[in-house]
């Protein structure tokens, strides 16, 4: 089962991530999950085949500071999170302005579980059309 190595705060996020790279941690990826009242942002790093996962609980409507200036590899996944969850990621090395992976006519914030937003809107519309 997934073990969270450490829970991070917005205040110590950069400091913590910056301390991992010189110690040989390899950035694996980030995972965002909509936990209804907040977003769980997981930072996965590998050290000698062991997965170290750091968790940031991001309040909704709050922006996420990018780590791409510390860890360039995070650039793409942070842009993907912007697209899929509608989270604003600040200070990205390259900001695709929420048009990184989704088409222009794609649902907005499709991975958010907020009722009435994203895919649920499309589902509702489709049901309405059936009636």
């Amino acid at each position: 089962m997934l073990k969270v190595t450490e829970e991070l705060e917005l205040g110590n996020l950069h400091e913590k991530i910056a301390s991992l790279i010189p110690r040989g941690y390899r950035f694996v990826t980030m995972t965002a999950v909509d936990a209804v009242d907040h977003f769980d942002i997981f930072y996965h790093f590998d050290l000698q085949f062991e997965l170290n996962t750091f968790l940031l609980k991001l309040p909704k409507e709050q922006s996420l500071p990018s780590i791409s200036h510390i860890c360039f590899a995070a650039l793409l996944v942070e842009n993907e999170i912007q697209d899929l969850f509608g989270i604003t990621v600040t200070d990205l090395v390259i900001d695709y302005k929420k048009s990184f992976i989704l088409a222009q006519d794609a649902p907005v914030k499709p991975f958010c579980k907020v009722p009435g937003v994203g895919v649920s809107v499309l589902e509702k519309t489709a049901e309405g059309e059936k009636k």
């Binding site: 694996v28 990826t29 995972t31 999950v33 085949f49 793409l76 992976i101």
Partner: protein, 357 residues
């Protein structure tokens, strides 16, 4: 003075749509910005709407090349959540099909690389060799790529003696024919001129950028997730293939040697197939969260799964190897000649459908 050159999304050497916006000065690349999103399929979202057993088939379709390893990694995640142990024979069979996939993926990638520097004959020869592997997969599963043989708790199909003999005969053909092609790929003057010293990535940069698979091992880093011994790799005494050059040539050499290594692994696995059940029966629904990894032909894949005790998962996240290799690619391309861009891209063996899921 610099100018902007769009490389792709439609380009003769790119099998899938990827664009690199290249800033060029005197035929030399100053910087590159990747643009994807042409084939995003929303599979992660779709997987949340299917039940966790249907997801085995859905997630197998994340990639049309290393499909079996996708379904296996997902199954490993569910098995961990449900504390299901996989029978020994199923673990060996998982290795057999995984390595067959690795072989056909590497042969496909090597062929495309040969095509990128204009060696069409070599391209055809490598793909002809690949057909033996496709035949082996078809004979054991009934399908060439989407095998559908992995299931939660084990595997759905067995490999009998006659099928095992067929696979071994096909592997002998692959080995024999690849032995005649290897010197062309590794020693031919023209090929070496195009590959040696091109697209260099030093080990430190490779680790910092999160490179995986042959891209990482070609830079001298001995990292292959099969070393952890998942499935039956521990019993089969696996050790990674590593090259130190850090260039297109080193990455090519890693792939060639990994094909030989896969042949050896399949022979050992089929030679020591244990007698056991094929799968452990499944009861109930998964709950909790896991992050599981496995080694695909292009590198390490990660599946994050969060379950809630129902038959549908809350979140499925797939980090494919090409997604991880795009950041290192940007560093490889920096400073290279415009004419080398195509080969450098193909040296990471990009899979854009995987990347966009």
């Amino acid at each position: 003075m610099s100018m902007l050159v769009p490389f792709g999304p439609q380009h003769p050497v790119l099998p899938e749509p990827l664009q690199l916006r290249l800033e060029i000065s005197d035929e030399q690349v100053i910087s590159a910005v990747p643009v994807i999103g042409y084939v995003h399929r929303g599979l992660e979202k779709l997987a949340e709407q299917k039940d966790f057993v249907q997801d085995v088939f859905l997630l197998e379709r994340v990639c049309g090349i290393c499909s079996f390893i996708h379904s296996m990694t997902y199954c490993m995640g569910i098995e961990e959540m449900m504390s299901l142990s996989v029978p020994p024979r199923a673990n060996y069979l998982r290795v057999v099909w995984s390595e067959l996939h690795r072989m056909h993926s590497h042969l496909l990638a090597l062929g495309l690389l040969a095509d990128s520097f204009g060696f069409e004959n070599l391209f055809y020869q490598l793909w002809r060799v690949r057909e033996h592997v496709m035949d082996a997969m078809e004979y054991t599963s009934g399908a060439r790529v989407m095998l559908g043989t992995c299931c939660i708790g084990g595997v759905r199909k067995d490999i009998n003696k006659e099928q095992a003999d067929f696979v071994l005969r096909k592997l002998s053909d692959v080995e024999k024919e690849l032995r005649t092609l290897t010197p062309v790929l590794l020693e031919d003057y023209s090929v070496k001129v195009r590959l040696v010293g091109v697209g260099r990535l030093d080990p430190k940069q490779a680790l910092t950028d999160g490179a995986v698979g042959p891209t990482l091992r070609g830079s001298g880093v001995s990292y292959d997730f099969r070393s952890t011994g998942y499935a039956a790799y521990r019993e089969l005494e696996f050790s990674p293939v590593v090259e130190k050059g850090g260039d297109c040539y080193a990455r090519t050499k890693v792939r060639i040697n990994e094909v030989y290594q896969s042949i050896s692994l399949v022979r050992r696995a089929l030679g020591h197939l244990p007698d056991s059940e094929l799968k452990t029966p499944l009861k109930g629904n998964p709950s909790g969260e896991v992050a599981v990894r496995a080694e695909q032909p292009r590198g390490e894949v990660l599946y994050y799964l969060r379950a809630n005790g129902t038959d549908k998962l809350d979140r499925i996240r797939v980090r494919t190897p090409t997604f991880a290799n795009i950041a290192p690619l940007l560093h490889m391309i920096k400073g290279c000649a415009l004419a080398d861009v195509a080969m450098i891209i193909l040296s990471i063996d990009p899979c854009i459908s995987c990347t966009e899921r």
